[in-house]
Structure formats: structure tokens, C-alpha cells
């Protein structure tokens, strides 16, 4: 039932290393009936491209399957397409939903396009100054992130729109020509345009956009990508979009063409999917694409397991994403990634540059630093056989926690000696005796980084991790779950099935959802007038959702009012109904302990949200052989607390429901590895989740 293919046929000359092509296509079984309404031939695929691995899951009416391949950062489409070829041969997917961290990684690792920023003259430095505040109050030497566009490529445009949309200084045709010439001379690969008050009057941005079109490079207009007031946040969002766009758009278009998918959608940071063309135009909406899919899937698993409060830790090759889920994943209107403000709707996910591929080095001050630089997939950790950077993965290999022979079900060999060799210079710089000591230091530091991220979303928001369950997923989080739980007092750990594929599963199950903001500025408007303002955007969104293959009747459009008391600060969002004013007062009272129904209400905009209603692609859960006895494949020494301890290496996929494993043990499986530390025990629950508690 499980077709395995080794690496042998796929070596030389390929940038993509397919490490394993294993399609666990489930045969019919009586326990899980196939939904009879589905056409058995419909093939739906969910893909999550990370910095290191590309995960593929699919449902075709008969069942589900999976594949994990090494990412190909130079051309991320290769990994996906090779994976498809392995899995489906010539068969074309009907629906391909895609979650990608290509955008995020390009930004965090600063490998985006050579971008030129056009601003109103005199405001070229807004991007650099930000909000003028320093990130850390008591830091003796405070620094902000270096802007994605340096001063030399920020061009001031002679024009000026005023706050009310009137034109203070016209944009002349001559100025447009001269700006276009400068953009060309600067060798731009992408352009961001953010002019003052563009949301009040976008005419100048649009004219520059049209004039730049003949250059044949992507142009991001700030009023389109983030129609909100506040020049820094809008500039930063537009710049991030422009910076990653060529990379993301090229990637998505190549995938659309080469995969032959009838329909390609991309997961957004907000947890809903959009059409590929929208995503290619506005990749900033996908910055937390894969992570959003993972959190959505984790929330679903937790509900089934009867858990309400979980802390998700999604550790991949490049970064770790953490979220606190209390029944559902919280949303926010803006976020910051790597110190860059992004004002687009997203799930509340906190990202740190700590992953399996994070590179460890000793800094000039003699401190061991891990990340945010990552070895990615190419060259990858030293043990992958190409690079010589010492990474977190190498540390785990040296400690025996990532059994070299069992990586990806044994299909990819890890070179232990190479890991040791990579860690040797660190050992010397750290002045410790054994390479194992250096390795444990790396693990401690990376877990410290993860802990800080978890504290940001729990303790700092008044939530006690000790009342939540730690939910590790992604390829590497299971290696660090016990360490984190011990440090932070999580009473329990839940490791889902196929933890390394959870984001892809969430992406596969994701629904279509599109949001658009309509900027307004009016005081005490009637709801009828507001509804009229929303009408055009609602029609546009309806069309956009229908283009994704939904009948008009299956499209749901709802409108929200974004308002505040006149001249107040942050706006609240309430549904646009006849009684929206009363709802606003109620919402204000709930949040701020006060309300004043007599006070003038200032409406700053509408959010129109459309979604396509569809049953999620079904199919049985991923294959698990439940009827075999537990056979520890062997016992190997694993280092815990400086001591090599005899440790059982167990194939998780062999564990039946109800099976219990006492630590120390290492549970290997196709997509991930779970370390059961000494003093912990793991039990398999009815959904095949691993539940870890102190023994």
C-alpha cells in the first residue's frame, strides 16, 4: 500500500533532490467510508513551501496522500513540480491550493528584488525613520531593521496631494517622464509607489503606475495594496510587496503554467485562499501563508481532541511560528515581520528566525548566537552533505536525537561525521570539551529563542502557558517540545499526526476568502449611504470569488464598518447593519469600559469580505498502520544533560492507538521526529495524536 522510491534514480544535475516519494494512498476500509457524493477523479492538492522542505498532501476522493521534498530556493517551483511528477505522473490537479513562505523568507533573508521606492519629494526617508521610536526602551545601543530599499534607491517625486484629496502641486508630464527615466537608470527590478494622501486621492499614484508599465517590471501602488491612512505603515507594506513580488509572482505563474492545475489558489495570512493572479499581484497578503494554514489546521485538530487552549509551535527549517489559540486563531489588522510593518489582515502569528537550518556561530562578544541566518535547503545543514555551516539540525544529529538512519523514513541519509566536523570550530570557540557540549548549547539557545516567542503571545498577553497544551508541528518542533515544556511548565504536549505536513493539510482544507478595504472619511453617515459605498466593492469581490469557480449563490459577501468616536484613536470593526451605531457603542464598552452614544462617530472605512462556501476536500486521514506491534527498531545512545543515555528509537507509524512509550525515546516518522525526554511518556490517542505528559 505504500509505494516507496529511493533516491537512486534522481541524482546528478538536479537542483531538486527528491528525498522520498511516498504516496500513502489509502485503500478502502470499512472504518472510514469514502464520501459517496464526490467524483472519485477530482484531485485536490495542498502544498506548503517552506524554506527547507516543500510538503504536498492531496485528496482525490479515494483517500489522501503525502510527499515531502527538499525545497529548491533558487526556483521553488522545481520542488513542487518534481513532487507532482512523482505522485501523479501526467495527471493534472483540479484544484491546487498553495501555502508559501517564499515571500517571508525573501524579506527576512533580504533576498528580494532590487526595488526602487517613489515617494512624495521630501519624504524619501519615511521608510527609514519609521515611527521614530526605538524598539527596546533600555537598550544602550538601539537599532531598527535596515530598510529594504536603501536611500540611494528612494526617489522623491515633485507632486503633492493634500489631506482632502485636492492637489497642492500637480504632477507634470515632464516630472513623470523624468521619474520613469530615473527608475530605469537605477536598474529597478520592482517599484513601490507611496505618495502622501494617496488614499484620499490615488490619481498621482495611478498615473505613475501607468507611466511605469512599459518598463515591464512590477509596480506596487500603496493605495491598492493597503488603503489605510498613515504614510509609514502604507509605505512599508508597499515596499515589502514590491520587494518580494518578482520572486513570488514568477514562482506562482510558473507553477500555474507547469503544474497544469485547472485552478491555482494561494493561502493568505488571514487564513483564507485567493486566486493565483491576486496573489501574484499582492504577495504581501501571503506573508504568513503557510503558517496561517498550519494554525487553522492545528485549531481543528485541537477541537477534535477536546482541547480549547493550545500554543502552536511550528518549527521548520528557517523559522518558527508561534500562535496562541483559544478556540479559534485570533486575527489582527496589521503585523510586523522582522521589524517591518505590514498593514494587511492576518492571523495573530509571531515569527522568529529560529529553525532547524538556523546557523550557529559565536559572536565577537563570545556569545553563542543561533539564527536568524539559515542554511535553508541549499546548501542546507552540514549533515545534508553539501554545506559546512553548523545548524540546529546538526546539533540534534550530533546528540543522536535525530537518528541519521531514520530521517524521512530512512530515505535521506544524514552524515553524522559531517555534522561533527561542522560543530568542531564552534566547540573550540565556545571553549568546551566535547562536540556534544557545543551541540547541547545550540539546542538550549534555540529553545530560549522559541521560549521568548511563546512568552510574547502568552504571558505578555496575560495567558498562562501552564493552562494550555503545547502543540508542536512542522519538521523540527517535536525535537524541542519536551525541553520547552519543561522550561515553561506546559502540562501536556500534543503532537498531531504527520506534524511535518500539518500546514499543507490546512492549506488543502482552506476556503476561499477575499478582503478589500474601502477607505472613507465621514461623520455619522447613514447605514444606507454606507451600504451604497460598499456596493461597488461587494460586486467586485463577488466577481473575484466567482472567478474561483463558485456559483453566485455560493458566494457570501459581508461588510464591516471601521469606525471610531470622532478624532479618537484605533478604530473598531462592526458588521454593517442598520443598527451598526448601537453595535459600535456596545463593542466600545466591552473593550474600553465606556461608551457615549451621543458622541459623533467617524467612519474611516469599510471592509468588504467575500468567501466561497464549499465543503472542504474530504478523504480519509493519512494512512497509519494500526495493527502492528510496537517494535523498538533499536536502542541508540542519545545525549541528554551531557550524558549519553541508551534510548529506544521507535517508528511512530507502527504505534497502535493506546500504545505508550516511556522516555527517553525518539519517535521517528516520515515527516518529523519527536523526542520523548527522560521523565516523559507518550501515549497514542484515538486520533493517532501523540499525547506527552510527565511520567
Amino acid at each position: 500500500m505504500c509505494k516507496r522510491q529511493g533516491l537512486s534514480g534522481l541524482r546528478a544535475g538536479r537542483r531538486a533532490v527528491i528525498v522520498r516519494a511516498c504516496a500513502d494512498i489509502l485503500r478502502r476500509r470499512s472504518r472510514v467510508a469514502m464520501p459517496s457524493s464526490r467524483r472519485p477523479t477530482r484531485l485536490a492538492i495542498g502544498v506548503d513551501t517552506g524554506g527547507t522542505f516543500t510538503d504536498i498532501v492531496f485528496a482525490d476522493g479515494r483517500g489522501r496522500g503525502r510527499l515531502k521534498v527538499l525545497s529548491t530556493p533558487g526556483d521553488p517551483a522545481r520542488a513542487v513540480l518534481d513532487g507532482f511528477a512523482q505522485l501523479f505522473g501526467e495527471r493534472r490537479p483540479d484544484l491546487f491550493t498553495y501555502g508559501t513562505t517564499v515571500a517571508t523568507n525573501a524579506m527576512l533573508e533580504r533576498r528580494g528584488a532590487r526595488t526602487v521606492l517613489l515617494t512624495t519629494e521630501g519624504f524619501e526617508d519615511v521608510l527609514e525613520i519609521g515611527r521614530q521610536a526605538r524598539p527596546d526602551l533600555y537598550d544602550l545601543e538601539p537599532h531598527r531593521a535596515e530598510p529594504l530599499v536603501p536611500a540611494s534607491r528612494r526617489v522623491g517625486v515633485r507632486e503633492r496631494v493634500l489631506f482632502d484629496g485636492s492637489v497642492g502641486r500637480a504632477l507634470t508630464a515632464a516630472e513623470v517622464r523624468s521619474v520613469v527615466a530615473r527608475v530605469r537608470a537605477l536598474g529597478a527590478e520592482s517599484v513601490a509607489v507611496c505618495l502622501l494622501h494617496a488614499t484620499a486621492n490615488p490619481d498621482h499614484e495611478r498615473r505613475l503606475g501607468r507611466a511605469l508599465a512599459p518598463l515591464g517590471i512590477p509596480v506596487t501602488l500603496s493605495h491598492e495594496v493597503s488603503p489605510t491612512v498613515g504614510e509609514y505603515e502604507r509605505t512599508s507594506t508597499a515596499v515589502a510587496n514590491a520587494y518580494v513580488q518578482p520572486k513570488v509572482a514568477g514562482h506562482i505563474r510558473a507553477l500555474a503554467a507547469q503544474s497544469g492545475a485547472k485552478r491555482l489558489r494561494v493561502m493568505q495570512s488571514s487564513g483564507g485562499a485567493i486566486g493565483s493572479e491576486t496573489a501574484a499581484r499582492e504577495p504581501v497578503r501571503t506573508m504568513l501563508s503557510g503558517p496561517a494554514g498550519g494554525v487553522a489546521a492545528a485549531a481543528a485538530v485541537a477541537v477534535r481532541a477536546g482541547l480549547r487552549r493550545i500554543v502552536t509551535v511550528d518549527m521548520g527549517g528557517t523559522s518558527t511560528d508561534v500562535a496562541f489559540v483559544d478556540g479559534e486563531a485570533p486575527r489582527r489588522a496589521d503585523t510586523a515581520i522582522g521589524g517591518f510593518a505590514l498593514r494587511v489582515p492576518c492571523l495573530d502569528i509571531h515569527t522568529v528566525g529560529a529553525g532547524g537550518g538556523s546557523i550557529a556561530e559565536v559572536d565577537e562578544g563570545g556569545a553563542l548566537r543561533v539564527g536568524p541566518k539559515s542554511a535553508g535547503a541549499d546548501p542546507g545543514p552540514a549533515c545534508y552533505g553539501r554545506g559546512l555551516d553548523a545548524t540546529v539540525t546538526d546539533a540534534n544529529v550530533v546528540l543522536g536525537r535525530l537518528p541519521a538512519a531514520h530521517f524521512l523514513g530512512g530515505s535521506m541519509h544524514l552524515d553524522v561525521e559531517r555534522s561533527r566536523k561542522a560543530l568542531e570550530p564552534l566547540r573550540a570557540a565556545m571553549r568546551v570539551r566535547r562536540v556534544e557540549d557545543a551541540a547541547e548549547g545550540i539546542v538550549r539557545v534555540v529553545e530560549g529563542n522559541m521560549e521568548r516567542a511563546i512568552r510574547t503571545i502568552t504571558v505578555q498577553r496575560g495567558q498562562d502557558p501552564r493552562s494550555a497544551v503545547l502543540f508542536p508541528f512542522g519538521g523540527a518542533a517535536g525535537l524541542h517540545a519536551c525541553g520547552l515544556a519543561e522550561e515553561m511548565g506546559f502540562p501536556e504536549i500534543l503532537v498531531p499526526r504527520s506534524p511535518g505536513l500539518l500546514s499543507a493539510i490546512g492549506v488543502l482544507d482552506g476556503r476561499v476568502a477575499i478582503d478589500r478595504l474601502v477607505p472613507l472619511s465621514c461623520i455619522d453617515p447613514s447605514w444606507k449611504w454606507l451600504a451604497a459605498q460598499a456596493a461597488a466593492a461587494a460586486r467586485g469581490i463577488r466577481t473575484e470569488v466567482m472567478r474561483e469557480g463558485f456559483a453566485s449563490s455560493a458566494v457570501r459577501v459581508s461588510t464591516f464598518v471601521r469606525a471610531r468616536y470622532l478624532r479618537q484613536s484605533i478604530e473598531l470593526e462592526v458588521p454593517l447593519e442598520e443598527d451598526f451605531r448601537a453595535r459600535f457603542d456596545d463593542a466600545h464598552r466591552a473593550l474600553f469600559h465606556s461608551a457615549d452614544p451621543a458622541r459623533a462617530l467617524e467612519v474611516v472605512g469599510l471592509r468588504v469580505s467575500g468567501s466561497g462556501e464549499q465543503p472542504p476536500p474530504r478523504g480519509k486521514p493519512l494512512a497509519v498502520r494500526t495493527n502492528r506491534r510496537v517494535e523498538p527498531s533499536n536502542t541508540m545512545p542519545v545525549v541528554f544533560g551531557g550524558r549519553a543515555t541508551p534510548t529506544a528509537i521507535v517508528d511512530r507509524e507502527m504505534l497502535p492507538v493506546g500504545a505508550e512509550v516511556r522516555g527517553p525515546a525518539v519517535l521517528t516518522e516520515y515527516s518529523s521526529t519527536t523526542v520523548v525526554a527522560p521523565g516523559w511518556k507518550a501515549r497514542v490517542d484515538v486520533d493517532h495524536n501523540l499525547r506527552l505528559v510527565p511520567a
Partner: protein, 556 residues
């Protein structure tokens, strides 16, 4: 503050609980901040975030604060103390104060204090307080930052009085307050936001009490202060012996006095670190006087910086610290000296002089001086376009001093402030002004192996006739370099009239601009750090240190 460390100061909470309670109690203050900002009305509070929130124990000692504005945080404890000394706060009461001679710092900073009662408590279980900078509090000029020679010219003085009694507004207080400001509507909205924040803080504190019990929370509040005290004590133990002295000068007081000396001698006496400012200059005629609260907050800030990030800043942190001043001096002024700039300018120079002394004691840790001014700009008048009075206040960032770790950051708020800017798009929508330039002042940072950060240039045109107050420093002497680094460029200010003619203006100016005139403020750069290595080679104008520090001396 000077309660000695008792031998009983041994940890009772587990390390995890300590950390958790530190975050929970800080969470109370942080949530207050979120509420205050969200519900406030003036751009100065909602956009610039010129406010602070903190939680105090039943004795009135500070337990936790949210990371807001340092000059507020170190001085708010004295405001709470003054309120508690003046009155016995009952359930539902809120005290208001701003008097620098009764718990305040300068008049625009208005502090509200409220007790937190448990359901059956007879005495307050804790206190919450918030301080916000109101863009106008009366006085000679809009913005209440006038170049006064007497506190009465600076605006309305509020010694601690009741703003709410038993949950109801005290109409008399509110009416009196609003009658004395130029923009009463905005003031009222901001005050309501401050009250909402206190309610949120009280509610969150009571949440903790219901989850963990009164006893546990009270213990944790004390433990947290003891913990900070222990950490600071441990670090004081490593502080080198001897007396470490430094001097720095304020340019002038805006009323004729120049080169006002600030002097500090830092020495360790057993388990106490002593900051002796008694050799500083006499109080001055102009509004550059700092009261003891401000001097305390500057020391608090410096201790928080050099203690390392793991020390929770609270009342315990200051227990092993002793501050000596001479009443009637520029760092401990007496009634009725004007003080508007003490809070914003002298406080920055106080940090500079303390850091300079610390740099001598702990070489290789402290960076060169940062811009050393908040560049206060207040504009106000009648907005004929919107048919309403207006009062706008902002502070402008500077360059940071370079340090052993690398170049100084550019265009940032430093030391005693961390206010955000008002977005140009918001500014222009609310006020009759147009911004022409908001950019980095390239080349203004001091030279060195690590370059000082650059300042900012801000160019604002007024569209109606407008009263303008500028209150800024470091216009004659730049921020000092360290370890051989050069000084940063001093700031410079000018007015451009409607015909485009430029004229320099004093850094402490009070003027009336006609419609169409512009004020241009160029803020100082930070000092450089370390000798520039072979300047001839690095003459291309590039910073030689982009890649980080070279041959940095070891941190002590």
C-alpha cells in the same frame, strides 16, 4: 525608595512563578496602555503615545510599568506618593495632579491615580496610575511650553485633587480644568481615556486576585521588587570603587543664562550606589529647571539600561540607589521656578552626564552621547479652516551615540523619551499645517570607528497665523564622542518666510508665524565611538564599521 535591603530578601517564589508574575503584573500596565491609547483623542496621545501606565502596591511602591516613556516612569512613583499623602482614596475615587511642586514634573503631564479595592477590602489592595502629556494646559502660549520665568506663566497647576468620587466625575474639578485649556473638547476626551485605562488596570488586577488569591498577588508584588533589588545589588557589587565624576552643560535657559553645568559623582558605598549631583548649577530663570522627580527618573533610566534586560524595572530597583541633590539647584528646583523644559531637556542632559560618569567607571559598555534633546515644538492658535482652536505638540528624534557594538542608530527617540511621530497624513488632516520635509539629516553623526547616528530635518509650514514655541538643546555643542570618536553635529533651526528668505532662530524661541511661513528644525547627530581607523582610506564617505565592531574593548 531608600528602604535598605533586608536580610529577609531571599526568593520565595520559584523562578518560573517570579517570571510569570513579572509578566502578568507588567501585563496589567501594558493593557492599561492599550486602552489609553485606543480611547484617547489627541494625536499627541493616540499617535505619539506620549503617556505611561504603572501598577503600585498597597504601600504605593511601583510594582511594574509598561515600557512607555522613561521620564514618566521614573517619576510617577513620586506622584502616587504625593496623592496618597494628600488624601485617602476611597473606592471609585480618582485623584488628578500635575503640580511639579506636589508630585508632578511639568504641567502638561497630567497624572491620574486610583485605588484598587477587592470586593470586600476595607483598604486599597493596590493602586494604578497613568500619566499623559496633554497638548495644552493653559499658560502663556499654546502647547504650554512657553519660555516662562515663573511656574504661573506655564499653565494650570493642579495639586492632588479628586477628579472622580465614588465612580462619579467631580464636576467642579472637571469644569475648572477644562476652563483653563485652549482645547477643552480634546482634553475631556483624553481625560476619559485616562480614566478608562485606570478601570482596565483595576479590572485586570482583580482578575489576578480572583485567579491566584489576594495573598499570592500581594506576595508577588513584593517579591518582584525584592528580586529587582537583588539583581541590582549583585551588579553594584561589581561596580568599581572610587569616585567617577562627569560634567556636561546645557546650552542655555532661554532667559539669558548660558552654559548651565550639570555635575555628578558616582560612588559605591557598600551596598549602595550614590549619585551626587550637589555640584550642579543653581536653578535658572528660564524653564530648564528639573525637580527631584526628574533627576530621579534620569537615574532610574540609567540604572535600567546598565543593569541588563533581565532586571524588571520597579521600585525595588531603586532601593540600593541614593540620590543627593541641593534644593534650589537646577536638578532640584524650588517653587516657583519654571520647569517646562526640565522634564524634556534637562532630563536628557542628566542622562548624558550620568552616562559619561558611568563610561569612566565601566569603559566599553556605555555608548557616546545621543542627540541629547527632545526638540519640542508646540504650535497653536485658531484654525480658521476648521473653525476651532488648536494646539499641537511634537518632539523630534535625533541621532544615537555610537557604541562599542556598532554605529549609532539614525533618526530615533533616545533616552528619556520614546514617543512616536504623528504621521504626516494625520497631522495635516487635523491641523492647519503642511509638512514639506521629514528626512534624515545625513552626515550629522560624529565620526569614529563607529559613526554616530544622524539626526532629522523636519520642515513644517503653517497655513494660518500661529504661535510657535521651540524648546531644544545641543545647538552650540554637539553630542560628545567617546573613546576617540568625534562629536555629533549640533542642531540648527530656521524660519523660512513666504518669499523664501531664511533666518536662523534660537533653539529656545517663542514666535508668531504668519500663514505661509515655515519652521525648519534640524536635530543633532549622535557622537562617534572609537578613533576612525586611517581616515584617509575610509574617506569615501562610507562608514567603515558597517560590518560591526572591530577590536572593541572587552565589556567589564
Amino acid at each position: 525608595m531608600n528602604r535598605a535591603a533586608t536580610p529577609k530578601n531571599v526568593p520565595r517564589l520559584s523562578a518560573v512563578d517570579l517570571e510569570l508574575f513579572a509578566n502578568r503584573l507588567t501585563g496589567v500596565a501594558e493593557e492599561m496602555g492599550v486602552v489609553l491609547q485606543s480611547a484617547s483623542m489627541s494625536p499627541n496621545i493616540k499617535e505619539r503615545r506620549d503617556f505611561s501606565c504603572a501598577l503600585f502596591d498597597a504601600a504605593g511602591d511601583m510594582v511594574a510599568h509598561a515600557a512607555h516613556i522613561p521620564v514618566h516612569l521614573g517619576s510617577t512613583p513620586l506622584a502616587v506618593r504625593a496623592a496618597l499623602d494628600a488624601m485617602e482614596l476611597q473606592r471609585g475615587d480618582v485623584a488628578i495632579l500635575n503640580d511639579p511642586y506636589a508630585g508632578g514634573t511639568h504641567l502638561p503631564d497630567v497624572t491620574l491615580v486610583a485605588p484598587v479595592f477587592t470586593a470586600r477590602g476595607k483598604k486599597p489592595f493596590a493602586y494604578v496610575a497613568d500619566r499623559a502629556h496633554h497638548a495644552d494646559i493653559g499658560g502663556g502660549k499654546p502647547g504650554s511650553m512657553a519660555l516662562a520665568t515663573d511656574i504661573h506663566q506655564e499653565g494650570l497647576r493642579l495639586p492632588p485633587v479628586l477628579l472622580m468620587r465614588g465612580g462619579q466625575w467631580v464636576r467642579e474639578t472637571l469644569t475648572l480644568f477644562l476652563a483653563n485649556t485652549r482645547v477643552p473638547d480634546e482634553r475631556r476626551g483624553d481625560l476619559e481615556a485616562q480614566v478608562a485605562a485606570l478601570r482596565a488596570g483595576a479590572a485586570r488586577t482583580l482578575d489576578l486576585v480572583s485567579r491566584f488569591g489576594e495573598r499570592a498577588v500581594a506576595d508577588a508584588m513584593r517579591e518582584l521588587q525584592d528580586y529587582s533589588e537583588r539583581l541590582v545589588l549583585a551588579r553594584i557589587g561589581r561596580f568599581p570603587g572610587g569616585t567617577h565624576t562627569a560634567e556636561d552643560l546645557l546650552d542655555d535657559d532661554g532667559a539669558g543664562g548660558r552654559d548651565i553645568p550639570l555635575r555628578v559623582s558616582i560612588r559605591r558605598r557598600g551596598r549602595t550606589l550614590e549619585f551626587d549631583f550637589r555640584r550642579s548649577g543653581e536653578q535658572v530663570r528660564g524653564p530648564l529647571n528639573a525637580n527631584l522627580a526628574i533627576t530621579t527618573s534620569a537615574v532610574f533610566y540609567a540604572i535600567a539600561c546598565v543593569s541588563g534586560r533581565d532586571v524588571p524595572p520597579n521600585g525595588g530597583m531603586m532601593r540600593p540607589v541614593r540620590i543627593l541633590t541641593k534644593p534650589g539647584s537646577v536638578v532640584d528646583c524650588t517653587f516657583p521656578s519654571p520647569v517646562a523644559g526640565g522634564n524634556v531637556e534637562t532630563s536628557q542632559r542628566l542622562v548624558d552626564v550620568v552616562m559619561k560618569a558611568l563610561a569612566r567607571a565601566l569603559p566599553g559598555l556605555v555608548p557616546a552621547a545621543s542627540g541629547g534633546t527632545m526638540n519640542n515644538l508646540a504650535l497653536g492658535g485658531r484654525d480658521a479652516i476648521r473653525a476651532r482652536p488648536f494646539s499641537y505638540y511634537e518632539t523630534i528624534g535625533v541621532g544615537c551615540g555610537a557604541g562599542p557594538r556598532g554605529d549609532g542608530g539614525s533618526a530615533m527617540q533616545t533616552h528619556m523619551t520614546n514617543t512616536w511621530n504623528t504621521p504626516v497624513e494625520v497631522l495635516e488632516a487635523y491641523y492647519p499645517m503642511r509638512v514639506h520635509r521629514y528626512g534624515v539629516r545625513r552626515g550629522s553623526g560624529g565620526s569614529g570607528a563607529h559613526r554616530g547616528g544622524d539626526g532629522i530635518v523636519r520642515d513644517i509650514e503653517v497655513l494660518v497665523e500661529c504661535d510657535v514655541t521651540l524648546l531644544a538643546e545641543r545647538r552650540r555643542r554637539g553630542a560628545w564622542g567617546l573613546a576617540g570618536g568625534g562629536d555629533g553635529k549640533p542642531g540648527a533651526d530656521e524660519v523660512i518666510d513666504a518669499q523664501g528668505r531664511r533666518r536662523r532662530i534660537d533653539a529656545k524661541s517663542s514666535l508668531t508665524l504668519a500663514a505661509g511661513e515655515r519652521i525648519v528644525v534640524a536635530t543633532p547627530g549622535g557622537g562617534g565611538w572609537g578613533k576612525a581607523a586611517r581616515t584617509a582610506k575610509a574617506s569615501a564617505g562610507h562608514s567603515p564599521s558597517k560590518k560591526g565592531p572591530r577590536r572593541a574593548p572587552a565589556r567589564s
